[in-house]
C-alpha cells in the first residue's frame, strides 16, 4: 500500500486510511443526498389507514381473527384503534401504538362463536399524531 507524506509534517499516513476515509465520505454523501431529496421532493400526505382480515381460525368456541393495518400515507399514525364485531354485534377494539408511514402492522381479535370472514365487520376507529 502506498503512503503519503502528510502536508509537510513529516508524518506518514498509510494510503489505507485515505481509502477508508474516501469510501466513508462517499457513503455519508449518499445518505445526505438521499435525505435532501426526500426532504425537498418527498410527499407529505397524512396517514391513510386500511385494515383487512388476513386469517380467520376457529379455536374451540371462539374465532381468532388476524387483521393487518397498513398506512399508505407519508405520516406516522399513533394510537390507532381497530374495531371489530362478530355475530353478537358487540364491538371490540385493539390499539396499535404506531403505524409508521408505508408500514404494515398485525394484530388479532378473539370473537365468540365459530365465524366466517364475511360475518366479521372491521374498521379503523381513529388515530392521533405521534
Amino acid at each position: 500500500m502506498g503512503e503519503d507524506k502528510s502536508h509537510g509534517t513529516g508524518k506518514t499516513r498509510p494510503a489505507t486510511e485515505w481509502v477508508v476515509g474516501g469510501i466513508s465520505a462517499l457513503l455519508v454523501a449518499c445518505l445526505v443526498l438521499y435525505l435532501g431529496r426526500q426532504a425537498m421532493f418527498g410527499d407529505n400526505s397524512p396517514a391513510k389507514l386500511h385494515v383487512s382480515i388476513e386469517r380467520v381460525t376457529p379455536i374451540g368456541d371462539v374465532t381468532s381473527v388476524i387483521v393487518s393495518v397498513s398506512n399508505g400515507g407519508d405520516e406516522t399514525a399513533a394510537a390507532v384503534t381497530v374495531l371489530a364485531a362478530g355475530s353478537d354485534a358487540v364491538t371490540r377494539w385493539i390499539e396499535f401504538d404506531y403505524i409508521p408511514a408505508h408500514a404494515v402492522r398485525r394484530g388479532a381479535f378473539v370473537l365468540p362463536g365459530a365465524l366466517e370472514a364475511d360475518e366479521i365487520r372491521i374498521g379503523i376507529g381513529g388515530y392521533t399524531e405521534p
Binding site: 502528510s6 502536508h7 509537510g8 509534517t9 508524518k11 499516513r13 498509510p14 489505507t16 486510511e17 485515505w18 477508508v20 476515509g21 474516501g22 469510501i23 466513508s24 465520505a25 457513503l27 455519508v28 445518505l31 445526505v32 438521499y34 435525505l35 435532501g36 426526500q38 426532504a39 418527498g42 406516522t76 399513533a78 401504538d97 404506531y98 409508521p100 408511514a101 408505508h102 408500514a103 404494515v104 402492522r105 405521534p130
Partner: protein, 280 residues
C-alpha cells in the same frame, strides 16, 4: 506478564481480584439495561435466530476487545479467547442474580424466557467485564504504559465500533428511539447527521478530551475528519442498523423509516464511538 501456570497464594489472590473486577465491570455496564423493561420483554418475544446472531457476533467481538483492552494483559489469541469466555462466564451469573433480585426471573419463569433475558443482557455485561481492567485496574504493572500505546488505525476503528455498540445497546431497545424517528422530518435528520459528525469530531480531536486521538497541529482539520470521523460515523450507523435489526425494530418498516431510525440511533452511537477512548 507472569506465566499462568503454577498457582501460588499471590496468583490466587490476584485471580480473585480480577474476577471481582470483572464482576464489577459487568455490573456497571449492564445495570442500565438490566433495569429497562423493553429488554426484559425482548427476552421472551425476540426471534431466537436473532439472539443466536447476537451471541455469535458477540464472541469474536469480545476476543478482539480482549486483544485491545482486556482485564488481563494477554500473550496470544488463545489467552484472548480464554479471557472472552471468562468475561461471559462472569457476566451470566451477574445478570441472573440481578434479574432474579428485580423479580423479572422467578421460579415460574420458563427456561426459554430466562435464556432469552440473560443472553440479551450478557452482551453489554461481558463488554463491561472485559473492560474492568481499564476502568478499575489501578496500576499498570512491570512498567506497562497501558492506554498510552499507539493504537493501529484498524484498532482505533474497532474501538470506535465497540463504543458505538455499547452506547447504542443502551437505547436501541427503547420505544422512544422509534418515536423520535417517527416525529422527525428529513430536515431534522439532515441536521442530526451534521450534529453527529460535528460532535464526533469535537469529542475525538477538537476539544482535547483525555484519551482523545492525537493530531498534529500541522495537520489540517479535514485530514482527521476524513480519516477518522467519517469512518467512525459510518461504523456508528452500521452498528445502529445491526442493533435495530437484532431488536426487531426494522420489521415491517419501509426503507425511509429504517434510514430515519438508523440516523436517530446513530446519534448516541456516534457519541459512543467518539468517546470510546473515554468509555473504554
Amino acid at each position: 506478564m507472569p506465566a499462568r501456570s503454577g498457582p501460588s497464594p499471590t496468583d490466587t489472590k490476584g485471580a480473585i481480584r480480577d474476577f471481582a473486577r470483572a464482576g464489577g465491570g459487568a455490573l456497571i455496564f449492564s445495570l442500565p439495561m438490566l433495569m429497562t423493561m423493553e429488554l426484559w420483554w425482548l427476552g421472551f418475544y425476540l426471534d431466537r435466530l436473532r439472539l443466536l446472531v447476537l451471541l455469535l457476533t458477540c464472541l469474536p467481538l469480545l476476543v478482539l476487545l480482549s486483544r485491545h483492552v482486556g482485564f488481563e494483559r494477554t500473550r496470544g489469541w488463545r489467552d484472548d479467547v480464554f479471557d472472552a469466555l471468562i468475561a461471559l462466564g462472569v457476566s451470566i451469573p451477574v445478570c441472573v442474580v440481578l434479574l432474579t433480585l428485580f423479580g423479572t426471573i422467578t421460579f415460574d419463569t420458563p427456561v426459554d424466557e430466562i435464556i432469552g433475558k440473560v443472553v440479551i443482557q450478557t452482551v453489554p455485561a461481558a463488554i463491561g467485564a472485559l473492560l474492568a481492567k481499564s476502568q478499575f485496574g489501578a496500576e499498570p504493572s512491570d512498567g506497562e504504559d497501558v492506554g498510552e500505546e499507539d493504537e493501529p488505525y484498524g484498532g482505533e476503528l474497532f474501538l470506535m465500533g465497540v463504543g458505538a455498540l455499547f452506547l447504542g445497546f443502551n437505547v436501541a431497545p427503547t420505544e422512544e428511539m422509534m418515536l423520535i424517528s417517527y416525529r422527525m422530518t428529513e430536515w431534522h435528520a439532515l441536521l442530526l447527521v451534521a450534529l453527529s459528525l460535528a460532535l464526533m469530531h469535537g469529542f475525538v480531536f477538537a476539544v482535547g478530551f483525555a484519551g482523545g486521538s492525537e493530531v498534529s497541529r500541522e495537520d489540517p482539520w479535514w485530514s482527521a475528519f476524513v480519516r477518522m470521523t467519517l469512518p467512525g460515523y459510518v461504523i456508528a450507523l452500521s452498528i445502529s442498523l445491526y442493533l435495530l435489526w437484532i431488536f426487531a425494530r426494522t420489521d415491517g418498516l419501509p426503507m425511509e423509516d429504517v434510514v430515519m431510525a438508523m440516523i436517530v440511533l446513530g446519534f448516541p452511537a456516534a457519541i459512543g464511538a467518539a468517546a470510546a477512548r473515554l468509555i473504554l
